[in-house]
């Protein structure tokens, strides 16, 4: 069995530019990846600069330029496409540093964003916290009640105006908010996705009265059905708007001044990139775009390797993120949750659990039990081995004890881990449970690995996918060390670990490989029998919107690719599924084909005989994914991976615990015939990770 691996970086970069550049700003480091015309990858890292992230970005690009034998201006001039993933918006929410935002909404409905549908934003939270109400409060409001203004206007479910907009009230509301010092105004009226004119009129009024404010309308951002998730989206957009747009304008200006001629592309959470202008007006689209870029990179690499179905896993310091690519396309979610705020956003689905390297180990000596996570040590204090004051054992500490992580070569050697501190922390666990040090450490690793297997199970088996049909990509600092085990648990037979240099800058790589993508949605709820003209009218309107946006971004019409879909459900029920249309309009005799596609997709997701063929169907959301291909990295596949380890790849060995063998030994002496299944899986991964810096696979015999 042969496998493709990425060409190593041994060849010199080709001169002459035409570079594809991806830059990703993480919490600690800013990564820059430059790919030249011949497919040679150059990477650079620089510390992130939270006071002015643009500086860190330019630092990383400068470092990459130096490696290419040029300077920043030279790199900018020779760059064909620069894609950037920003975490400014995400950070503003995490650190609660967003702008004071005022909200204008339909009179009588000012409390929508506070009522939160009577929920407390519990999606993704540990159930123990959820049922323990003292720990289950609502998040701090994005907009306090005193900055919410109700204005007379009302539209009904048909999109008919029941009460026209009262412009006097609107003007007074705007002036009151301005007087209270807001920096942004969000506008969300009931049913605005059916009739956006009232919102747009108020937006014009804001732009006239207070042109310096960041203003956005819910119907322009997320024209979806459901006022809570829509108002949250537009309020968050306002909250992060001033900061994000200021940063992007500044950056765009600096890059232009340095000679970058093309439009700067910003990675978005829908899995592609958008123009900087779009990102400035809709910064919400950049939320969580970092992890999504990892999926985009996997999609690119998967295409190259001929993998259509991929489970992507990213185990970072604090969480474990899973994405899914099926038939070459990423799985989407349409409602997101950030810090307990739930909002509409078409986004590549990433499910996270707090089982990253930072997951804390909790011991109850009385019952002789232990748990791993969901609490995390975070970046500060971090795992004990970080030496930042943490003393409670984490998964990362267990990894160090077991030899899975190299203390001298963590995060590309940028962080030195304190092995003694890791041993102390894990020993404390061992002592309380009456276990040996390695028993405790391997137990911690095993519990974390099973939790990871469980979340992948939720993403696959519970959604009608069989993980055995997938290849698993493992990236992130700690993931590859565990991937063999959780892959084995799920019956996944191939694990791919991106090559080392790319792996540590994977999201930047993903940014560089992303296509331009705009997703537009429109809700028009209608029950069967469907009227073809009405449906095709919706589709045509979406296509027109997409063409307009792309034209604004300077994309030639000939480069555009459209994919149209409709979210449908059984009338009277809640579960919706996305039905992708085979053509851009419905043909005359569409009904049976469309219903067939719906039932097939529904039963795939919800189980055989879960659909109810006698019932009427309902269309809810119409969607277009409009993309334009960008120049792609031209990486060269290599064949001829062997089972033996080339001498050139050998590096110093280190002691690693093998759970199946129940002993520690140097990894290069590991003998396959005597290891357990899990060890084989894990061993292969680890060998390849350290030695080949390329693709790992678990032989089928190891399943």
């Amino acid at each position: 069995m042969s496998e493709a691996i990425l060409t190593p970086d041994s060849r010199p970069p080709t001169p002459g530019g035409g570079y594809l550049v991806g830059v990703d700003i993480g919490g600690t480091f800013t990564d820059c990846v430059v790919i030249d015309q011949a497919g040679v990858v150059t990477t650079a890292k620089s510390p992130s600069t939270p006071d002015d992230f643009a500086r860190g970005m330019l630092d990383a690009m400068t470092a990459a330029a130096a490696a290419l034998g040029t300077d920043l201006d030279g790199l900018c001039r020779q760059t064909e496409l620069l894609s950037h993933g920003t975490t400014i918006g995400t950070n503003a929410i995490v650190q609660q540093r967003g702008a004071p935002v005022g909200l204008i909404t339909t009179k009588g409905h000012s409390d929508v964003i506070h009522i939160m549908r009577g929920s407390r934003g519990i999606t993704g939270r540990d159930i123990q916290q959820v049922v323990h109400f003292p720990e289950s409060a609502k998040p701090d409001p994005i907009v306090p009640k005193r900055l919410i203004e109700g204005v007379s206007e009302r539209v009904d479910c048909f999109g008919a105006v029941v009460v026209p907009l009262n412009e006097d009230e609107a003007e007074q509301a705007i002036r009151r908010l301005v007087a209270k010092g807001v920096k942004a105004i969000a506008i969300c009226f009931l049913w605005s996705f059916r009739y956006p004119a009232h919102e747009r009129r108020v937006k014009e009024m804001v732009q006239r009265i207070a042109p310096e404010l960041f203003v956005s309308c819910s119907a322009d951002l997320v024209p979806k059905w459901g006022e809570y998730e829509r108002v949250t989206a537009v309020a968050l957009n306002g909250y992060i708007g001033p900061l994000t747009s200021g940063y992007l304008r500044n950056l765009d200006g600096q890059l232009s001044a340095r000679g970058y001629k093309q439009p700067l592309q910003i990675t978005q959470c829908g899995g592609g990139t958008i123009s900087v202008e779009k990102a400035i007006s809709a910064p919400l689209l950049t939320l969580d775009s970092g992890p999504v870029a990892g999926v985009t990179g996997s999609q690119y690499l998967g295409d190259l390797m001929g993998c259509r179905n991929i489970i992507t896993t990213d185990m970072g310091g604090t969480s474990f993120d899973v994405g899914l690519i099926f038939d070459g396309k990423p799985a989407y979610s349409f409602v997101s949750n950030t810090h307990q705020y739930e909002y509409f956003l078409p986004k590549v689905d990433i499910q996270a659990i707090g089982s990253g390297g930072g997951s804390l180990v909790r011991v109850d000596a009385a019952t002789r039990t232990m748990r791993v996570g969901p609490e995390s040590a975070g970046a500060v204090p971090g795992p004990a081995c970080y030496g930042r004051g943490g003393t409670t054992a984490t998964v990362t500490d267990a990894d160090v004890v077991l030899g899975y992580l190299d203390p001298d070569n963590f995060a590309g050697g940028k962080i030195k881990l304190d092995k003694a501190a890791a041993v102390r922390a894990v020993q404390a666990v061992a002592d309380q449970l009456g276990l040996s040090l390695v028993e405790a450490a391997s137990g911690i690793a095993k519990i974390a690995e099973f939790q990871m297997a469980d979340i992948i199970r939720k993403m696959t088996i519970q959604k009608g996918f069989d993980p055995r049909d997938f290849v698993l990509f493992a990236f992130g600092g700690a993931g590859p060390a565990h991937a063999g085990v959780f892959a084995g648990e799920l019956g996944v037979s191939r694990v791919v670990v991106p090559q080392k240099k790319t792996a540590s800058t994977w999201c930047a790589f993903g940014a560089a490989s992303a296509h331009i993508l705009h997703i537009h949605e429109q809700v028009d709820i209608q029950a069967s029998p469907f009227l073809r003209e009405r449906v095709n009218g919706n589709l045509a309107a979406l296509e027109a919107t997409a063409r307009e946006q792309m034209a604004k971004d300077g994309i030639a019409a000939g480069r555009l690719v459209f994919e149209l879909s409709i979210d449908m459900r059984h009338k009277g029920q809640i579960n919706e599924v996305e039905v992708v249309l085979p053509a851009s309009r419905l043909p005359a005799d569409f009904h049976d084909d469309l219903a067939g596609r719906f039932f097939a997709r529904y039963e795939q997701l919800y189980g055989k005989s879960s659909s109810f063929r006698g019932s009427r169907l309902e269309m809810v959301t119409f969607r277009i994914r409009a993309s334009a291909r960008t120049p792609q990295p031209k990486l060269v596949p290599t064949t001829g991976l062997t089972d033996t380890i080339p001498a050139a790849a050998r590096r110093g060995s280190r002691a690693i615990w093998w759970d199946g063998l129940k002993r520690t030994q140097d990894d290069h002496r590991h003998h396959r015939g005597r290891a357990s299944r899990q060890d084989l899986a894990r061993g292969r991964v680890r060998q390849f990770r350290d030695r080949f810096e390329g693709v790992a696979r678990c032989p089928r015999s190891a399943r």
């Binding site: 409905h109 000012s110 009577g118 323990h132 009262n166 049913w191 519990i447």
Partner: protein
């Protein structure tokens, strides 16, 4: 009425009386139980299997939601899955509708006792059940119960429960507010074998569906329940194959044993004693103007907890619940306050809890009482006071004090049942689900959570207004949090909300109400905290709303409109709402904790700025003086609060009250927020924890040692107005102040003829057993 423990010779087999599982189950020898397990499981394997079992139960619930897809399953989350051991101890139950699983173990035990011989319990069987005298909350909560076999032995049970649209009875939807008894309600199904050899028995299924007005939907939900059990069973068997039956069973037993150990450790940190709460249900049938008393007693003796309902009114009308409904309700509070750290594994705790109600009371009703409305009335009122009683019990322990939670919102559900022809020309009927937005009660260290949901369904979510307006011919004028709705307190109860709508694109809507807790607040506060708003219906006929809309001037409150106010009664049937008639419903909010005059004035200022508290309440309830800009005047506030306290003492002394006596010495025990135990010589006394004023011997009611002032109920919450609209009795707000410092010690909501409630009785604190009974 005698308690179960006093009714020797009575058979509690789920026929005349609700089934009460005996200590030892009588199981036919035809059924072999899997009874071997590993006494020791290493900590890593334990955690891996524990996590897997939790996930199996979670996947079970998710499967039901996915396949059902009904609004009941998706929004109201009116379902719950469980895993139980072979002998029906809980391993895990899900985070959905909490009281549902609380009635699960009784059903499984009944099946073990009454079905193991004939028709027998075999591999590939499942039982359908909804009989509230065996275990369901009400007839619509249909359970599907699946034994899991390993090598011919019954290894464990996986079960689920899902509320059905309609299961028969005189009212569509099967909530029957005017039912005379259970024969007017949905079909009753004691556990019957509906799946045999892994096949649906067509005859039984048709019998089941025949009673429903919506047989297609019930059939689809039945398949969802079936798929849920099948998924869970398959995964349990996978675990057994991988780790061995004795190991998996060892983990199940250890989960329960660990829960038991933690529970007993908690009890060991608490004093022995009795804690009580008293509330009322109104209107048990159309036209009824009585209040029906609800008593809850929580008795702690060493490592045992005993719950009783002695003093609760007799069964009557259409408001009742059965034994298992009452028990299941109280288990919700036990879970959330005492077992939250055990991931809803209550099996270990249940080994040390006795439920000893008095059969014939309305929350432990005998056959054939009407019970279809149980969850919205009788069970809510059985559950919510348990939060107060248990919270008072755990208060003395500083660590457990953090788990305290006052009674939350929608402690009685104000139903809006409506029907007609919708904007699409189709017939519809619906129960407005908005009150599930509830509110969460104040904590001992923080405010409650406004519109934070109903505590009994921790993960619920109400529909958006745009969802409701799409499906029904309504136009919501507003849905807003109601100022002053949350009980005042040092920590304020969460606010509830009011939903207000007019008909839109239809000629008329026909409605019924079904409510209680509109006259007497049911979300009382705790330890000085004030009650929350009661439920409120408002109905304005022939209003000027359409003129206001025409003039582009919308309203934010029904009170801004003119028209003819109509007083809706609590079980008013078939009233008609036309396009200019405005209907509004406020659901009860959450109780407050501690004396409002102890609240940080800065928080009161914030609440006023955000419209959560009115200026009137800021001054009247919190004693906070605000300037015209709503900024706190500190000096004036301090002075007002001090004057208010001094005036209480002054009034007391002027009325001939005795001079206070202070006790020296450090408190032995903090009994409640304002009551501490101190020694007077060798005799333990209860004292004011602020100023050490003696409130009497510890075996007396401390309230008797306080200054007592009775006021109309509106003094407790400004929304509690004019109770005479609904009931004949007069509810009062009683306050108890320290005769030394004038500080508030506790409040009581009661009808005027009721004796003082003895809410706290301490035992074994150095004196003889108490001489008092439940009421003086």
């Amino acid at each position: 009425m005698p308690k179960i423990s006093e009714m020797t010779g009575t058979v509690f087999d789920g026929k005349q009386f609700g089934y009460v599982p005996p200590k030892t189950l009588t199981i036919s020898p035809k059924l072999a139980l899997h009874r071997q397990w590993d006494a020791e499981v290493d900590p890593v394997t334990f955690e891996v299997i524990r996590h897997a079992l939790w996930n199996i139960n979670e996947e079970h619930g998710a499967t039901i939601q996915r396949i059902s897809g009904s609004p009941i399953a998706m929004y109201a989350l009116d379902l719950n899955p469980s895993i139980l051991t072979e002998d029906a101890e809980f391993v895990f139950f899900g985070p959905y509708m909490q009281y549902m699983s609380g009635v699960t173990d009784t059903q499984v035990k009944w099946i073990l006792e009454y079905r193991s011989d004939n028709p027998g319990i075999r591999e590939g069987d499942m039982f359908l059940a909804n009989d509230p005298w065996v275990g369901a909350a009400h007839q619509m909560d249909v359970m599907l119960i699946c034994p899991v076999f390993h090598e011919g032995e019954l290894f464990c049970w996986v079960t689920n429960c899902l509320h059905q649209y309609d299961i028969g009875g005189i009212t569509p939807g099967s909530f029957c507010p005017s039912a005379r008894d259970a024969f007017d309600e949905g079909i009753l199904i004691p556990p019957i074998k509906i799946i045999e050899n892994d096949e649906i028995r067509r005859d039984i299924e048709e019998l089941y569906l025949r009673s429903s007005r919506k047989p297609d939907l019930v059939a689809l939900d039945f398949r969802a329940q079936l798929a849920g059990n099948t998924t869970a069973r398959t995964r349990v068997l996978e675990l057994i194959r991988r780790y061995g039956a004795t190991t998996v069973k060892g983990v199940m037993k250890k989960i329960i044993d660990n829960g038991e150990r933690v529970f007993l450790q908690k009890l060991a940190r608490l004093p022995d004693g009795v804690w009580r709460d008293r509330t009322y249900v109104e209107c048990c049938r159309p036209g009824d103007r009585r209040v029906h008393r609800v008593m809850l007693t929580c008795r702690k003796a060493g490592g045992r907890l005993i719950f009783e309902n002695e003093g609760t009114a007799p069964q009557d009308g259409a408001m009742n619940a059965t034994y298992s409904g009452w028990r299941g309700s109280i288990m919700v509070a036990i879970n959330e306050l005492l077992c939250w750290d055990q991931y809803l594994s209550v099996g270990g705790a249940l080994r040390h809890i006795t439920f000893d109600p008095s059969p014939g009371t309305f929350n432990c009703a005998n056959f054939p009482a009407s019970v279809s409305t149980a969850p919205v009335q009788s069970m809510e009122i059985s559950l919510y006071p348990a939060y107060n009683a248990i919270s008072k019990m755990i208060y003395p322990d500083p660590e457990m004090r953090k788990d305290i939670m006052c009674i939350g919102g929608t402690s009685q559900w104000p139903a809006t049942i409506f029907r007609g022809i919708d904007q699409w020309g189709e017939r519809y009927g619906y129960l407005l689900i908005d009150p599930i937005g509830g509110a969460i009660g104040a904590f001992a260290q923080d405010d409650g959570i406004s519109t934070g949901g109903q505590a009994r369904t921790p993960i619920c979510k109400l529909p958006n207004i745009e969802h409701t307006e799409q499906n029904f011919p309504l136009l919501f004028l507003y849905r807003k949090e109601v100022p002053d709705s949350g009980g005042a307190g040092k920590f304020r109860g969460g606010l509830s909300a009011e939903s207000c709508f007019i008909p839109h694109n239809t000629d008329k809507i026909t409605q019924d109400t079904l409510s209680s807790g509109n006259a007497v607040p049911t979300s009382t506060g705790m330890m000085g905290g004030y009650p929350a708003t009661p439920n409120v219906y408002r109905f304005l006929k022939h209003s000027n709303v359409l003129e206001r809309h025409g003039a582009c001037r919308m309203v934010e409150d029904l009170g801004e409109l003119t028209g003819e106010p109509v007083e809706l009664q609590l079980r008013q049937e078939n009233f008609v709402q036309e396009p200019t008639d405005v209907y509004a419903v406020t659901w009860s909010a959450a109780g407050g904790f501690g004396d409002p005059m102890d609240r940080d004035p800065a928080h009161v200022q914030e609440d006023v700025e955000d419209g959560n508290v009115t200026r009137d309440a800021a001054r009247g309830l919190y004693g906070v003086v605000l300037d015209t800009e709503n900024r706190v005047d500190r000096a004036a506030t301090d002075a007002l609060r001090a004057e208010t306290r001094a005036a209480r003492v002054k009034r007391h002394r002027a009325g001939g009250g005795a001079a206070p006596r202070k006790l020296a010495g450090a408190p032995m025990l903090q009994v409640s927020e304002y009551v501490a135990l101190r020694l007077d010589g060798n005799t333990p006394h209860l004292t004011c924890s602020r100023c050490a004023t003696d409130l009497g011997r510890s075996d007396d009611n401390y309230k008797s040692g306080c200054i007592r002032e009775d006021n109309p109920i509106a003094a407790g919450n400004p929304h509690a107005r004019n109770p005479e609209r609904f009931i004949d009795a007069e509810p009062v707000f009683r306050q108890f102040f320290c005769p030394g410092c004038g500080g508030l010690v506790e409040n009581e909501v009661a009808t005027s003829d009721e004796p003082l409630l003895v809410d706290i009785e301490l035992h074994d604190v150095g004196v003889a057993r108490p001489k008092r009974q439940a009421a003086e």
